[in-house]
């Protein structure tokens, strides 16, 4: 069995307006030492998935079904208390905005010490030494002094490094990074991504990177999962997604990604429309109202929910267009446009 395996995970939230199907039948596997990138727009269900794995949904309002297997243990049916003991120790998380994700009233060191001492029965002194080690490891200069700084005394990049140090303090086997670079300067983004890649190699953890930025996952991921409307619409290796993507939505994401190797005068090709409502999900393929190629399915896209099918070698696509058709469109209509310079 894989280290992490999700089987038909569904996370629904009952609200006054109706049932919000944030995650609707998601399955994937991930091995130790590997990195999975989950890509999608806001509201596609990618963050809800990660919080679901950690069991962090508030107030028991979420209805979760399906299975989450972590290292041979099933988490969906497990007791809250048991899942709590796994959090931080077995699985840890890095959040988007390190300023609001750290408590403003405690020093960075105290917050790392706290995280470490939850799972390790050691004295404050030992924990402090460990915190200083961790801060040094994530590249914070003079860690023995910075350990006593408050989060607001750090720069954005330093804060995210400290956040990473906190998440890694108990040597977790699964690390989930939810938009880890979105709140950072572009120059700092690259440093943080490098750091995460190096640390993952050292710790041999399984890493899930959640982002809306294909550029981020391009650098790090072994596999990429593209989410739309709470469902996986394309899954494959990094190469599959970047070299031979088959879903029109993935094409749209690639087209709307700014690239340095393109002419600056050229326009980006954004995806028209906005993300679907998760209460009244469009009939058939959730992407059909925004899909340029919708009429080429002969009406099936409106009527029938497409299945996630393997096209070859583990590359999965959820689209009504026949495989040959998709390949032809990619080769003849999309790829030349992306590569034109």
């Amino acid at each position: 069995m894989s280290f992490l395996e999700l089987k038909d995970l569904r996370i629904h939230f009952p609200t006054d307006d109706g049932l919000v199907k944030s995650v609707d039948g998601l399955s994937f596997t991930l091995e130790r030492g590997k990195t999975l990138g989950i890509v999608g727009e806001s509201g596609s269900g990618k963050s809800v998935t990660s919080l679901g794995i950690l069991g962090l949904h508030k107030g028991g309002r979420a209805r979760i079904s399906g299975e989450i297997w972590l290292d041979g243990e099933e988490l969906v049916g497990a007791s809250l208390e048991h899942v709590r003991t796994l959090r931080g120790k077995k699985m840890a998380m890095i959040f988007q905005d390190p300023l609001s994700a750290m408590h403003p009233f405690y020093t960075v060191g105290d917050q790392i010490i706290e995280a470490y001492r939850i799972h390790n029965d050691v004295s404050k002194k030992v924990a402090r030494k460990h915190a200083i080690d961790m801060l040094g490891r994530v590249g914070i200069p003079q860690p023995d002094r910075r350990v006593d700084s408050y989060p607001h005394e750090f720069s954005g990049g330093m804060r995210q490094r400290a956040m990473i140090a906190m998440a890694l303090s108990c040597d977790p086997e699964l690390l989930i990074a939810d938009e880890p670079t979105t709140a950072l300067d572009v120059t700092v983004q690259a440093q943080i991504l490098d750091l995460m890649r190096d640390l993952q190699r050292d710790f041999n953890a399984a890493l899930i990177i959640i982002t809306h930025d294909l550029g981020v996952v391009a650098e790090l991921s072994d596999d990429i999962l593209v989410m739309y409307g709470g469902k996986c619409i394309e899954y494959g290796t990094s190469e599959d997604i970047f070299e031979r993507p088959e879903h029109p939505y993935t094409w749209g994401l690639l087209g709307s990604m700014p690239r340095l190797d393109r002419e600056p005068t050229e326009r980006l090709m954004p995806i028209k429309g906005s993300p679907p409502s998760l209460i009244n999900v469009p009939s058939g393929c959730a992407f059909h109202p925004r899909c340029v190629f919708e009429e080429r399915t002969g009406g099936r896209a409106k009527a029938e929910v497409p299945e996630l099918l393997e096209t070859e070698g583990g590359h999965l696509v959820r689209c009504h267009l026949p495989r040959e058709r998709r390949r032809a469109i990619w080769e003849n209509e999309i790829k030349p446009n992306l590569e034109a310079s």
């Binding site: 120790k89 998380m93 939850i118 906190m166």
Partner: protein, 339 residues
């Protein structure tokens, strides 16, 4: 930090000076603007039977004919350094801080105030302990169980608490727990036993006033805490704390409540400062011989030196409490930079 403290201390002194000027102006400048003469002011000091001649002499002796600035200077000097009163046959020294002599009892005001202070401090501190514990605990539970029966009941009671005046809740509590009740909790009104004399009696006599006063404040603190907790428990750092694997209790207390503490502390400092100057309604309702009762009695008797004394002491506590709160800010919220 040190410069900040010094600066705040200087400000506190300036504030107190301004308060003393304002107080002095109210009692000596305003009557003159309204047409009072030196003689009519002096008439209050000499009794009803004095002749016009005696009043004139008294006005001269009391310095009411001097310019107001000189009079204020004498008043301020009395507080800082003490004053000498020439009452005819001899000169009496009134040691600092001298707020003058009562019209009625002819006794100096300051020792009177000192006698009253323990009552008010006992009342205020005891009530504060109760209302902080009860208010904050209720607020936290309400926020965590938002929308539950407990939350609704607690907020309903809290609404009653802030709305009902002390003289109503106080009297109801006296009727229920004291007068003519064989199981009465407290002696009917007016008794105060100093703590150092008999701690059990001290608490016994104060328990009803404490609870009545605390009820009013606890209600406000419960609402404030609830609002603060609802906000902080939605913060990202709470999610982080849970993601670390922290147990829920520590998440709520160490991260949630800690984040909601700043406004509570601010209000607490001001409330306590204000109460130390006299819990007027509570003291009156329970006939407790504290500062508030003293102030009311003095006002009703138009006993000017007493009123001025109690006003200045009350102002001192408010300024002092503000100073403490400002300093505590830096402790509670490290983002506040002092300097």
């Amino acid at each position: 930090m040190v410069t900040y403290i010094i600066r705040r201390l200087i400000w506190a002194v300036v504030m107190l000076t301004i308060v003393s000027i304002a107080t002095f102006a109210i009692f000596f400048l305003v009557p003159r603007l309204a047409g009072a003469t030196s003689e009519s002011l002096a008439a209050r000091y000499v009794g009803r039977t004095a002749s016009a001649e005696q009043v004139k002499i008294a006005a001269e002796k009391l310095g009411f004919n001097d310019p107001l600035v000189v009079q204020y200077g004498r008043f301020a000097k009395g507080i800082v350094a003490g004053a000498d009163y020439d009452y005819g046959p001899g000169v009496e020294h009134c040691p600092a801080p001298c707020f003058g002599y009562s019209f009625l009892t002819r006794l100096p005001v300051w020792p009177d105030l000192l006698n009253r202070l323990p009552v008010t401090i006992s009342l205020a501190i005891g009530a504060a302990v109760i209302w902080v514990i009860a208010g904050v605990a209720t607020g936290v539970l309400s926020a965590l169980k938002r929308g539950s029966l407990f939350d609704r009941a607690a907020m309903g009671v809290a609404l009653a608490g802030v709305s009902l005046p002390i003289f109503f809740t106080g009297i109801v509590s006296l009727v229920v727990f004291s007068y003519g009740n064989p199981f009465r909790i407290t002696a009917p009104g007016g008794s105060f036993t100093p703590f150092e004399e008999n701690p059990a009696m001290w608490a016994y006599n104060l328990i009803l006033p404490w609870i009545t006063l605390a009820f009013l404040y606890a209600a406000g603190y419960a609402r404030l805490t609830r609002a603060g907790m609802l906000e902080t428990m939605n913060e990202d750092y709470i999610r982080t704390a849970r993601a670390k694997g922290l147990n829920e209790r520590a998440v709520v207390v160490k991260h949630g409540l800690r984040g909601a503490l700043t406004p509570i502390l601010t209000i607490f400092g001001l409330d306590l400062g204000l109460l130390l100057g006299g819990a007027v309604l509570t003291e009156s309702t329970y006939s407790l011989p504290g500062m508030g009762k003293y102030a009311i009695d003095a006002i009703l008797a138009q006993d000017l030196p007493k009123v001025m004394g109690v006003t200045l002491v009350a102002a001192f506590f408010v300024v002092f409490a503000n100073l403490i709160v400002d300093l505590l800010y830096a402790v509670v919220d490290p983002r506040v930079r002092l300097g």
